[in-house]
Symmetry: C2
Subunit: 418 residues, 2 copies
DNA sequence: AGGCTTCCTCTAAGTCGTGAATCATGTGGC
DNA sequence: GCCACATGATTCACGACTTAGAGGAAGCCT
């Protein structure tokens, strides 16, 4: 929950309400007492706040908890049906749109693939709009029930006036995706980098859950991270923090597709792994994006007799270990979570070796406090994480209904005139 | 200013008071209107708050600002004489204790050097106590006027119950420095890593001033950083974030004193620079810590005919550039500030080359938003930064006088009993 | 002096969270 | 079946806070 600025007495209520809601969402169901302890308010205030939230349908009471002798504690929870959110994963080869309820149950989903090598922004926008309409229809909800739409994109997202996307790998240069998506749709819209939305998904529901300082590593064709610092996504000054793939692990090393040399991605990116294998086999095979996954899988599962595969994997573990050690030294996280399709593929085989290498390269103290884990969520994590964006926004606002505001304003004026 | 949790109406005032104070301290002198705008409160509240601060002597009115036609605006400022702070720099070879007023004017200072190769904790503690008494006497202030003592140490500082220091380079393993210093001194005490205090000094008063996302690099025998994220020091889970010196820039590269290989420090640390020079000259010279600085200086200022020096410097720029590019990619700062005695020494000669290398290695978007600068503060920056620690603490508390609390409590009880 | 402009402060009103008292809702004993 | 008991939840009076708007303060110009 971002540091909401609290200056007036009214802000106070909003902020307390938001804290209670976050707590209920993240750790619910909870008793009123637990909410009070977490939000730092008295029982009286909890009662007051919860009463309001119950009345507005944001929160529901789900069962009772036995107490030894006295009145049982009521268990509270955010109402999964209070509203719905849409998460969109704009991938390099496919576009996934999913509709969730607030408990993150998938209520509808829609996939569309593209044959284009480069993504055309307008085409993407049209498909997103189409997908959103499709999932709303499919789930049978009214569009007023949609709290917002989150979009995860491949590339850096500048959050200025409206989101602008720079996606080197898909040929996007300063695409004003925010404005384009908003045109023809009036749902609240939030856009972020796909690696960051995946990170948020792992933080909320996956392997980084409960950790306030974590680094989620995304391995695929590209190599990125999502950094959680003090419980929040770390963005840096222009939201491009966490570009781990192009950190230098070998001065004057291999050529990277970014133009520089010695980048981590030039060693552990999916294309690099396959290319290094082919080099060892002294053959030149053109790498087609569609086949990348099975080619990497073939290397991972190769027979022990395949010396080239063994060497490539060994080197990959070395570079990955060194790279992760850098993250541990610089960010001092409690957990490093390795995800992305390539991460899932390499995980079981390589993780023990990666841990060993990282232990050698990282400083003792920070390393002794870190766990290096496999991601828990699967392929849809980017869309799931994208859907958390509008949820975070709703929770931080305290889920104040526009209608409530209008109502109280009407009451005010009627009293003023009456 | 850390995210103070505001739940009750009283917290509200405290938080508004703290915001106003921070603003006045950082950007003063300011008019009441400016304070109101910055703190987000109405003129009435500013008047109220400022009145209290003036009465308590925390803030003073310094002159008037002309207005076009009306009553002139009063200019407010934190009272430099409201209290004093002590900053201590526990260096590897010398110990510096300085006493500052709130405007950071040095009022007294005390140096003591040591001949020991390894620092003895109890010896350091004694010297610190001695130094503090000396500067208090020298400045002629009463110890009640000391708001607190900040200490910058070489090594990682774990902020648990009380500060515990792990200083590999000085042979400290889990030294409970907090408890040791507190014993025999009852001033408020704050301890942090020297690189971090230096970073805070540059952020408050130096080259990183006004930047909410900055990385301050400290070059010396060791190589560290201090990371400012969203205006605050980034610590990570165990306060050891920013250990840049032992990130890997060359897999399977040079041996580093930390035990690993290929660390940045093994290339650009002071000892490494001299060692590499000696290797090129094909000679083995024992490096004495005392002579390190002049030996590096000799390399930097060597005649162009000294090919070995040129090569060492060139390589240093390459590694430093790559390392800084990593920081830019990972943290996406607005500024990178290069400091430390080695940084100062290398700065003018090397910085242009470092920028070039960094530009090649960093991604375009984050690099286009970053400035790579030399530090502005000199050798005493660690002590200066250490002294900012208690100031930050006072500002965040809103400078609520203990006496005030007692007084109001007395009033309460007298009214209750009366 | 008097009007004017601008800054500052005082007052009344509205909102909030808290603590103490009260109400609600269960268990266990008889 | 009834009543004491324990504990959770709610209500109410109170103090504390910020704000809007009115009024005072302090300088300038005519």
């Amino acid at each position: 929950m971002p540091g909401t600025r609290t200056t007036t007495v009214r802000d106070l209520r909003k902020s307390n309400r938001a804290r209670a809601l976050w707590e209920l969402y993240m750790n619910g169901p909870l008793t009123r007492q637990e909410v009070g302890a977490a939000a730092g308010v008295s029982p009286a205030t909890v009662s007051n706040l919860v009463g309001e939230l119950l009345e507005q349908g944001v929160v529901i009471e789900v069962g009772l908890e036995d107490s030894n002798g006295g009145r049982p504690r009521g268990l509270l929870q955010v109402n999964p049906e209070y509203g719905f959110v849409v998460g969109v994963d704009v991938g390099e080869t496919a576009l996934l749109v999913e509709l969730f309820d607030l408990s993150m149950k998938v209520r509808a989903s829609h996939v569309s693939t593209t044959e284009l090598a480069r993504l055309d922004p307008q085409d993407v926008v049209d498909r997103v709009h189409e997908g959103i309409e499709a999932v709303i229809a499919q789930a049978g909800v009214r569009s007023e029930q949609i709290l917002g739409v989150g979009v995860g994109v491949p590339g850096l997202v500048e959050h200025g006036n409206d989101a602008v996307v720079h996606g080197q790998s898909v040929g996007w240069d300063a695409v004003p995706l925010g404005a384009m998506l908003r045109d023809g749709m009036d749902l609240p819209l939030l856009i972020d980098n796909g690696a960051k939305t995946l990170g948020q998904a792992e933080k909320w529901f996956g392997a980084a859950r409960g950790s306030d300082n974590a680094v989620i590593v995304l391995l695929g064709i590209g190599v990125g991270t999502s950094i959680i610092s003090n419980g929040e996504l770390y963005r840096g000054s222009t939201s491009s923090a966490g570009e781990w793939g192009h950190t230098t692990v070998m001065v004057e090393g291999r050529q990277c597709r970014c133009g520089a040399v010695g980048c981590l991605e030039a060693y552990v990116g999916a294309e690099a792994i396959v290319a290094r294998y082919d080099e060892l086999k002294r053959r030149r095979v053109e790498i087609k994006p569609r086949e990348l996954e099975e080619r990497v899988a073939a290397i991972v599962t190769a027979a022990p007799s395949d010396k080239a595969a063994a060497k490539v994997l060994d080197e990959t573990a070395t570079y990955l270990g060194a790279g992760i050690a850098d993250l541990v030294n610089l960010f001092n996280p409690e957990r490093v979570v390795v995800g992305g399709w390539l991460g899932q593929l390499l995980g079981d085989t390589l993780l023990p070796r990666v841990r060993e290498v990282a232990a050698r390269h990282a400083l003792r103290l920070p390393f002794s406090h870190v766990s290096i884990l496999k991601a828990q969520l699967g392929k849809d994590a980017v869309a799931l994480g994208a859907a958390t964006l509008p949820i975070a926004s709703v929770l931080s606002s305290g889920a104040v209904l526009p209608s409530t505001t209008v109502r109280s304003r009407l009451l005010d004026s009627s009293r003023a005139t009456g």
